[in-house]
Symmetry: D2
Subunit: 375 residues, 4 copies
């Protein structure tokens, strides 16, 4: 599919989102994995979208987040592999994987976090030991999204016996679904229709062609690059959740009456709506700005980190405000307000805790390097 | 029990709270009603505490909220009846009800909200029709907390055929558990161990001695007065939830390591902790200030509304920040962070939506009446 | 000058801004009108820039605001006239005025507000009475920026004896500098190098060709359209002020030492810097988004109002945070922190009070019209 | 004067505050030192008030801050000396100084900050060299409030040739007005009627009885203790400024008309007023809570730091919101809004920068010591 093909499919993605929104309340309550919607996203080119214009990709993720946040990690985890294969793989790897990944024929998830590890990737304990022309992997990962339904996993591991230290001893490997087992599914507050897992792979042998880029020790910058795109996706999805909450709240205040008039006529209700709107609009503007900058290549950590924190805050603000406007019934699971709040909380710590991202932004800004003169 | 007896039991309430906190994770997951804790609160004098110093009552509610927010509506609903009976009932009613209510031997809940009604009490549709020396009630209420386990319900109803208009035609009646039936229990986001119900009472006859105060049309000011105490309780409980979230977060950042040191050593983590602390402290200060003013009697709508909005905001801020500090695992139901967020959301709309309370505060302030010169 | 000419001059505007920043501390202290800089802005095409791509115009205003906020109202007031003449004037008017206005050879200011009036334009009292083929104007305006140095003023007046009511009786007229007198210059908190005036014009006769568009009663929508562009300019300038404050703060924390290290090494200082950065980035993203939408024509009141409120908040936040980071000396007038705060406060009420804009946004959103489905 | 005498004079202080508020606009514009008001505060017992109930002291400082913030540093600087003499001086020192200090017959200021130093007191460079039975001081201090009008200064200096390191080598000395000279008065953004100075004392000899407490190396904890009281005073004064801004805003929105009604009838205006009110009330509650805890003695750094940050934020929020409600004219110096903003900015960095205080609070909380279990 060409990118102009994708551009045209944005309208169709919006249509899909609108349709999903009519079913999401019941489907989310069931907690079942959305096989059919994944198939439709595949046909619409969603899984390869991050290889094109990132502004369009962000708009697509926004629509998907607006529809149902459980769908977002499925796409986002896969997009990381698309990005890494496109930008950091060897020619052979690209020839083998990029096509099916772009078309979504094979879906990958991303194995970074380890028990006790959190955002501190540089100190992880999973290992890869060279063994002839291949590698033997020992992996223990947790908080891995989509790890049961995905066909592949891109895993970060430490090269055993490497002379390099810290993050310079890390590499990315692409492994297959039969090479890891899911030891536990974590019971989450929200995004309940996509699994988040603890996984293990013990003494698993992979060929040398599974080391991304073919050279040891490049895993950390490869991941950092992909995570910038991940933050754009997450930020866009957060805008989508916020928009969903906003419009559900508007529906509700147009219907509910108090003191003889629709709540929508109340000036403070309107001010609440305005508050949600301005934050959403700002987050959306920043997501587009950061996608635009990442389009031009190079390091965009400040831009994407800023987008992620702003959009996450907007999503939580919208979820809380919508619940307030939902009234007493808004606290029940009979409306979407509870789901919005449960879902929006996902990215407080996910995809880089906001406190870590603020730390990153602050450190880069006080260094006063010229690439940030746009701020 | 004397008030000094209650003062001494604050230490015991704190001890109970600390004990409940060791069990709350499992008990809340079960969703079962806490019969044993209700009994222990009864023995500690919690159910009559609002009849004494409201600052001590607030501290007690804070501890109970810190322990388990599901306990709070049980006490709060009952306290409304204590307050109304103490301050607005006839001598005969006081003689009959105040003792068992203070001792918590008989527990009451509060029936105000109606389907479609929300915070707009003045337009409710439940009716009381005079019938000889008694009344026939037709009630349809919703969002009634503790309506299955309570022994009595204090209900607000419109006097049928009254010449008075709006809120001046409302009266409070005290009815018994066998006089209403629970038609539905609402599935809530949080506070899952206490029931919230839709209830009906059809053509129920009560004696004339069940009209609070013995005079028609006084229900609305009676409720408004009790709701001020309710807001103090809710605000105090919100401080308690926030404190619970704060200390769980502190525990977790002392345990978790990242980048070779406990998270508690990270300056931005500490700043987050400081942010929670200052908001909690401010909310606590305001709750005490508003309780102190309500102690002296008279209208304290601005004070208690301010306390409720500030404390609710602090609770939600604390719940969200704690979840962020909890890291990826903080989003699961394996820690208390999810429960804190689900519980803290209760009071966004409950006990007066914050937008309504802001409206009330603003209207009172621009009127520039002298009783608010303390601000 | 062509628009591509303007695009290329953005680099030169940035250079001018950097140069002005080296002088601004002393020049602002003098309070003198910046004749030389106005001339240089004229040569760089700044005064006609709003007729081209509004995103480029916004970036130019951002740079000018970053340099010295006193310069912004000079350009912004004029741009309103450019916009109105370009989009709402008769062909003859456009032929006469557009060229010199685009080139900045003749500068106009904007006369809307009246004593007691504020943002409520629909009820203004200045009048225009038909007199043969011309008009006799009676004007009393206040808070008119640049009213002493401008060559012309675009004034809003009520058609005397009109059968139309409210805002439908308003028209815009273009008058000349010798037709009004400045009765008072208002002592402002900030932006002290551009005058803000009370003005009067009594029984001033103008020709029929001075009625913008040639038809009575169109003044209000003409102004509303121009104010959307004004809000983009103001929002962009607010981003500029915020950026100026941010970088001054970064300079200072790199220089100041405390506890044996530069303040820039302190994690909470960095977090403050990150907080400024993310708000600025979000405001900038939203300004660009709103400019992009206004580029396509049509009503953009929500977009531009959102941009104005977000950017103003970001500017005040940045000014306050920078002053905090400036330390005790940051409170003196020896650094730029005080000026940033005094200047940033300008737009709290100017160009539409934020409370009014929130009201507008809320009203539009709850109406749920399709043009706002992008939110 | 007894404390009950002071308690009764709170009413008189309120009366004085109300009177000062009728003159403050003109007096502040003149920038003249308020000799007469200082005399009246002396007679009302303000200068000794911190030796009594700190809640009453806080209420007094709140009233004085409400009247005119320039008055506050005069009292606050002196109160530090009262506190230090009362709690940390030798019996002889207390006998000599406490009486005249309590009565305000002799006023002291506080000399801590040094050029380049800011809040980092432990590394200061002013020295005290033992010389027979006395000391020779070399001092260079800046940002010293009231340093021209005060009779004495309590200065922090490093003991020359001390074997102690860091803050353990610091001592407090009390010196007289003829022993230092003012080298510069700093031009401040606000609080313009009290001087803030750079001062020097070169080779000044003082007697051994001027070393507070008579033992070397105790200056730092003495200062830390006094600064807790200083933060209570500053926080209380910030509440006062916020209240002043709130009520000026209420006056203005009651007078101004827009859209055919007083602005006070507008729901969003009321919501703004409510926002100011709740923050002020919370800050006031926390100030009282922290004063109450400091009354009982011991370390109250978290409590007072929290009060200071919350109250400062409330003051700046109130000042900005009031200016917004003031409309376009609110930006001029013709109303009090500009002064409120200029004054409220004082404490952003003063009396401990908020970022430093957050750091302190965070560090103490994560240590999880039992004295903070009240949070």
């Amino acid at each position: 599919m060409t990118m102009s093909g994708f551009a045209s499919s944005l309208t169709e993605i919006t249509r899909l989102a609108d349709e999903v929104r009519t079913q999401v309340h019941e489907r989310d309550a069931s907690g079942e994995y959305p096989v059919d919607i994944v198939e439709r996203m595949r046909r619409l080119g969603v899984f390869g979208a991050c290889a094109g214009d990132l502004r369009a990709y962000a708009l697509a993720m926004e629509e998907i987040g607006r529809a149902w946040l459980s769908l977002v990690p499925i796409v986002n985890a896969h997009s990381s592999s698309v990005w890494v294969v496109k930008h950091h793989a060897t020619d052979e790897q690209r020839a083998r994987w990029l096509g099916p990944f772009l078309r979504g024929e094979e879906l990958a998830c991303l194995g970074l976090t380890e028990p006790g590890g959190g955002s501190d990737l540089a100190n992880l304990g999973s290992t890869a030991r060279r063994d002839g022309d291949g590698w033997v992997l020992d992996l223990h990962k947790t908080l891995i999204t989509h790890a049961d339904h995905a066909d592949h996993m891109l895993v970060l591991a430490r090269i055993a016996d490497s002379t390099a230290v810290g993050s310079r001893a890390l590499s990315l490997f692409l492994i297959d679904r039969d090479q890891w087992h899911v030891t536990r599914k974590l019971p989450k507050l929200g995004t309940v229709s996509v699994e988040t897992c603890e996984v293990r792979a013990e003494q698993v042998r992979v060929g040398g062609d599974r080391l991304i880029g073919g050279v040891e020790g490049r895993g950390f910058p490869q991941v950092m690059d992909a995570l910038e795109v991940g933050r754009i996706a997450v930020a866009a999805a957060a805008v989508g959740v916020a928009r969903s909450a906003l419009w559900r709240a508007i529906e509700r205040v147009r219907e509910r009456e108090a003191f003889g008039a629709p709540l929508a006529d109340n000036a403070i209700v309107r001010q609440r709506v305005a508050g949600m709107t301005t934050r959403i609009a700002a987050a959306k503007g920043l997501v587009q700005l950061s996608a635009d900058r990442k389009n031009t290549g190079g390091r965009c950590d400040v831009e994407t980190a800023a987008a992620k924190t702003v959009a996450t805050d907007a999503a939580l603000h919208a979820a809380l405000t919508a619940m307030e406007l939902g009234g007493g019934m808004g606290y029940t699971e009979e409306f979407d307000f509870a789901r919005h709040l449960r879902d929006a909380a996902l990215f407080l710590a996910g995809e880089g805790a906001n406190s870590l991202l603020e730390s990153l932004i602050g450190a880069r800004m006080v260094a006063a390097e010229p690439d940030l003169a746009w701020v």
